[in-house]
Symmetry: C2
Subunit: 408 residues, 2 copies
């Protein structure tokens, strides 16, 4: 099945090199395909790392190991396998990951725990050790490649390569953040899933990098959904090489910490939106703004209830401003809400206020808004100051075609 | 849009009259259609009632009022409006319900609180009081009708009328339970939703009827899902006319109480399955059996995580025994699970055991099973004795067509 490029795709941006990061790709042949499927990022000595991982309790060995490795905060290399998720493969899967870690560590002269491994692709098939060994050998010898090559190589069912960059000033020094991500659906076919990697030349302590990444995750990757399914492999890692020459950031009070956390939040938001833009079958990018909830977390849960509702996502696909379905989703979220204080709007036009349809509701601009690619849904709960923004895509025949019509 | 009859439909059963229950239908004209859309059940003096209602906090006035009325335990009449859900209509919607209650109460000489009202159909439009008044007047004058007529009249987007009956012996007396239900999706277009009505001639106290109905609900209506969306109007009422002549059932220790609760559970299970069989776009009826969970409630939550997963439902639509997606759903359920103890099977054949694909897994009988209309998924968590069964349907192009391709 040849997938068409998402109509919501963004062109791959110009992205600068990050000092201390070298990218290479090779072909391990995890599937019967001609493309490269093994990505390697070599990281300068002194690189620190932070990570956020899936909460799925049936996670892969890669996630189990990576979660422990990230706690130690040190990284020298990243390997990403595409075409085999190595999930649900028991001890044999774990052995394959440990083999890769050892092989790269021996090459670099570092500890195996400083080598991070991710895999996505078919499940239930242990990552073949012989192909992994030959692939790693080849990638260690390969020429450096571009961000776009790396973004293409980590992809599986993605319809376009995904990258983002941003910069921040820290005490007169410019630090740069560059990132690639893959994913099209919380889980795409064959457990193809969300993997994101952020690289920066900033000098930052592992603890503060983890704090900033966790905070950004809560407002970005944790606020997107394609189909409500939670992958067994989701991973986002941030690597900081400390090559920019800034005074190291060690906490919120370090000069420039605000600029760095803002830049990290920005790049995480860019990445998370790119995943939604490649959501399976997506034709529209939907932003759900929830205000007036009893807390920000309550607003996020209400937003996700709306963004996960098949009835709302199909209504948007049908360009139907069906605010009744939004009422339903607010009510089922399990969060405080009062039907008679609820207001709902599309594209900046309120359709219902205080629990009743507006008498002078003008549907024409709303109908026009819904014909576009970028759809805004606003919900005011009318109870407090809690707010959140959540992003999703519509639910279309394309989703069914990708997931049902073709055998995986 | 003319909907085809679900391929999973069941013929309407032969159903006996229930002493103390008289059904009538009429046309209120809530929509521009020729069919009857107002159903009336007159209940003998002394009829007791119990109810279970949607947990959606944005529920309709009908649900708010019905929940209070059911607590008092007495009923003389039921009115069901089709074509207008009267949800999200503020005080005007509530006035329309109170008008109907008063009109029927005046006719019967009972308290308005003994008249139960349900409505389904378009939302955000207050139930028109004039049409309701004329419709109620007509229905009170109408000839008695059959169960099938009543089942058709309460329907909205249902593709077939739904009824069920069963009997039980209580101290040498036969008691009969007959029921009708409507619904095709937790919410169908325009908030068409699940409404179920059970009538029995058994003599049973309101408290015990409520206890038995709540217990049955937990194992039937609370164990089905079509699309994970939760209606604002879901209602199941049980009416008992005490005409069978049995010694009244007042608690679990009453002679015959076991037989009655078993019969009530049986009829609730029949009704709940009929709703799934009319799930929007459904082509396959899916039974998910979860065993080995840490508790029955944990098993139910895991079962619902599986039954609500779009990726599993599309895989079944595609006749794909994608057990990896089942692993994913178990892991995201938020319940105790251990990847390395998990076993998954289809149609009685295990595909994976103890966290790994079976070496001698024979896919041929599984592939054959998945071609059928009735699909069984078995999941053993391997941790305890908790078990539950959950029912759902597959997710197909039909669902998208019903909910996105046509404006509501």
């Amino acid at each position: 099945m040849e997938l068409e490029i998402s109509p919501l795709a963004k062109p791959f941006p110009d992205m600068p090199q990050i000092a201390g990061v070298t990218l290479r790709v090779a072909r391990a042949g995890y599937k019967d395909w001609g493309r490269c499927d093994l990505t390697y990022a070599e990281l300068a000595e002194g690189t620190v790392v932070a990570g956020v991982f899936t909460k799925n309790v049936c996670c892969s060995s890669e996630v189990e190991l990576g979660r422990e490795q990230a706690k130690a905060g040190k990284a020298r290399a990243l390997i990403v396998n595409a075409g085999n998720s190595n999930a649900f493969t028991g001890y044999r899967g774990r052995e394959a990951v440990e083999q890769i870690m050892g092989q790269v560590a021996a090459h670099l002269g570092c500890a195996p725990s400083e080598v991070f491994v991710s895999s996505t692709g078919v499940i239930g098939v242990p990552l073949p050790k012989d192909k992994a060994r030959a692939g790693v050998e080849a990638v260690l010898d390969a020429e450096p490649c571009s961000w776009e090559d790396a973004a293409r190589t980590i992809s599986t069912t993605d319809t376009f390569p995904k990258g983002a960059m941003t910069q921040a000033m820290i005490g007169g020094k410019t630090v740069t953040l560059a990132a690639i991500i893959k994913g099209s659906g919380m889980i795409a076919p064959d457990m193809a899933t969300m993997l994101g990697y952020i690289f920066t030349d900033a000098a930052v302590s592992p603890a503060f990098l983890q704090q900033a990444l966790s905070a950004a995750n809560l407002r970005t990757f944790s606020c997107i959904t394609v189909d409500s399914d939670t992958s067994t492999s989701d991973t986002v890692l941030a690597f900081a090489t400390a090559k920019a020459g800034n005074d190291p950031l060690t906490g919120e009070d370090s000069p420039g910490a605000d600029a760095f956390t803002a830049a990290l939040l920005d790049i995480c938001r860019q990445l998370s939106h790119l995943v939604v833009r490649d959501g399976e079958g997506a034709q529209k990018f939907i932003t759900v703004d929830v205000t007036g909830a009893v807390s920000d977390e309550s607003a996020r849960k209400i937003g996700l209830a709306i963004a996960n509702s098949p009835l709302i996502k199909t209504a948007i696909a049908g360009e139907d401003a069906n605010w009744g379905r939004v009422v339903m989703a607010v009510g089922k979220a399990g969060e405080p809400a009062d039907r008679d204080r609820l207001s709902i709007g599309f594209g900046g036009v309120w359709a219902a206020k205080d629990g009743q349809p507006l008498a002078d509701y003008n549907e024409a601009p709303v109908a026009e808004h819904l014909k576009g690619r970028e759809i805004d849904i606003s919900v005011d709960i009318g109870l407090g100051d809690g707010r959140a923004t959540v992003w999703t895509c519509d639910l279309t025949h394309g989703y069914i075609a990708i997931n049902a019509d073709y055998r995986s």
